[in-house]
Amino acid sequence: MQAIELKDIIFSYGKELVLDKLCASFYKGEMGVVLGRNGSGKSTLFHILTGIQRDYGGTLRVNGHDRRRIQKGSKDSLRIGFMNQFHQTTFPFSVFDVVLTGRASFSRFGPSKADRDQVRAVLESFGLLPYKDKPYTELSGGERQLVLLCRVLVQDPDIILLDEPTNHLDLHYQIAVLDNLKKLVDNGKTVICIMHDPNLAFQYGDRFFVMGDGKLRSLDSTTNDHKREVLEQAYQVDLQSVVVQDKLVLIPKSKLSM
């Protein structure tokens, strides 16, 4: 079943056309991954999906509903959680308080005990419980990113949109985050990630797209060789492909002669 359907999406910054009749479908209970170069329009697409950017042409449907008409904050509405790339805050809230704000759409006034328990559980699943009273402003970039991810997950969203969830993270946390996302997908959630590392993407994702020329190009139902060619073209790098345990691994070649 289609969770998100993009049809003829057009978007431009001034005269520069960023998205040019982009079409794509993301399916329910799958992890969709968008790859592509910096500045190719991935983040623009992300902002359209999240509902922050509304000045686009074409239709975007989420579970069959027009994205523009989905009301925020109403109880029966579809829950869409997302995580931005950058975030800074002024006040040194504790980690627990930051994650707790993720439950804000569930209560009119203050958080309940159930909300607090949920926060505890999510922090526990990332091994962050010891950090719960630490000021958010004193965390490293990677730790902050994890906390923000917890914050998104604590609202129990149906669709999770993530812009580069693993940048800033060390290898340990990269795997922790992706394992957790995989678990969520197995439980029927829909996850859409923008990612930089094709290998991690192939290891965890179900469906792959490459952004280029304002369009999303699907990598599904293609051979490994074809995938390699498309990515070589997209990133302008020569790649060598290896298959490890049925998963495609691409190794970039240096442009210097070594």
């Binding site: 999240t50 509902g51 922050i52 009301q71 925020k72 904050g73 509405s77 829950r79 869409i80 959680g81 997302f82 995580m83 931005n84 975030h87 800074q88 805050t89 002024t90 006040f91 040194p92 809230f93 504790s94 308080d97 930051v98 707790l100 704000t101 993720g102 439950r103 804000a104 759409s105 006034f109 203050g110 958080p111 000021p135 923000l148 914050r151 998104v152 609202q155 969203p157």
Partner: protein, 335 residues
């Protein structure tokens, strides 16, 4: 944590009693105060307990009590408004004063004193809202509004309304001029039961709204996108919060005039003691704000043979804090 919460309740009560004992007509001992209180209560119940000093009795109930109540309300209101604005605009150096609300409200109040077309409270509120709206729009115009532009815009708007106020002062007759000038310095000494009556409804209403939704201030101070990220539309709650903060500020200004920078100082004290969460912070602002303004007012009443305007006092306290915050780089200029 528990003793801190306990202190939040006990300290204001103690300070209220102490403040009732102080004044230019003489100091009361606490036991005297309790005797007067007992007499008044008995009087209410229909029994007649006569006190020797009826003058003191009148001063206590007609001068000191309304003043103490009004001071507490205004202190709490300004502190809470400051805390709310700091959270909503994600900026630790804004307060009702620096966003132009106070100046706008003062102009509205003075205007209503001069030409009484609309009630003073309402006029103060309207111009307070107008001022904060202009500040917000000016700082958003063009590029994405940063915190610096917001403070600068607030300064400009504040300046414009102060200029308008000066024009009003220039145009008004000496009696009204004196009233307006005292106003701009904060004039708690004109406190009366009438003023308490006028201020108590809007301030209680505003405080109740803010206290009810106080937890959501944490969400707002993470930023608009972070609210959208967890499925909350921040616009409505922002509007409610800024509206309520403006209402309580304007009512305070209408009742006692401008008390500069008080709304900046207290939220910082609350955060130092109770941490940054607004769940406890708003309540702390009520308690600390009310108590602290009472303490400052007690000094301004008793330190010298004449009263020092309270606005002068708070400005002198607020300025070093402002400079300290600027130096400490506690301000997130880019957010």
């Amino acid at each position: 944590m528990h003793w801190k919460v306990f202190a939040l309740c006990i300290v204001p009560i103690c300070i209220v009693f102490i403040s009732l004992c102080l004044g230019s007509t003489g100091f009361l001992s606490l036991s005297d105060l309790f005797r007067y209180t007992y007499a008044a209560l008995a009087h209410c119940l229909g029994q007649d307990v006569t006190m020797q000093d009826t003058n003191m009795e009148t001063i206590l109930w007609q001068v000191r009590l309304p003043r103490v109540l009004l001071t507490f309300m205004v202190g709490a209101a300004l502190a809470v408004a400051g805390g709310v604005l700091q959270a909503v605009f994600r900026n630790p150096i804004v307060d009702p004063f620096s966003l132009g609300i106070s100046s706008g409200a003062a102009f509205g109040a003075a205007l209503s004193m001069l030409i009484s077309l609309i009630p003073l409270n309402l006029s103060a509120f309207m111009f307070g809202i107008i001022a904060v709206l202009i500040t917000y729009l000016v700082s958003r115009g063009g590029t994405r509004g940063s915190l610096v532009t917001m403070v600068l815009a607030g300064m400009i708007i504040s300046g414009v309304f102060t200029a308008f106020l000066t024009v009003l002062q220039y145009l008004s007759d000496p009696y009204k001029l004196q009233a307006i000038v005292q106003w701009t310095m904060g004039n708690l000494h004109t406190a009366s039961w009438h003023k308490v009556q006028q201020a108590i409804f809007p301030i209680t209403l505003g405080l109740t709204i803010i206290i009810a939704f106080r937890w959501k201030l944490n969400l707002l101070s993470l930023g608009e996108q972070e609210a959208l990220a967890v499925g909350v539309n921040p616009k409505i709650i922002k509007l409610i919060m800024v509206g309520a903060a403006t209402m309580i500020t304007a009512s305070s200004v209408a009742a006692v005039g401008m008390i500069s920078l008080f709304g900046l100082i207290v939220p910082h004290i609350s955060r130092m003691v109770f941490g940054p969460s607004n769940s406890i912070g708003v309540l702390a602002n009520v308690s600390i704000g009310g108590s602290f303004l009472l303490v400052i007012d007690n000094f301004s009443r008793t330190l010298l043979p004449f009263e020092i305007p309270i606005g002068v006092f708070t400005m002198m306290l607020g300025t070093p804090l402002f400079i300290y915050l600027m130096r400490k780089n506690a301000i997130n200029w880019n957010g």
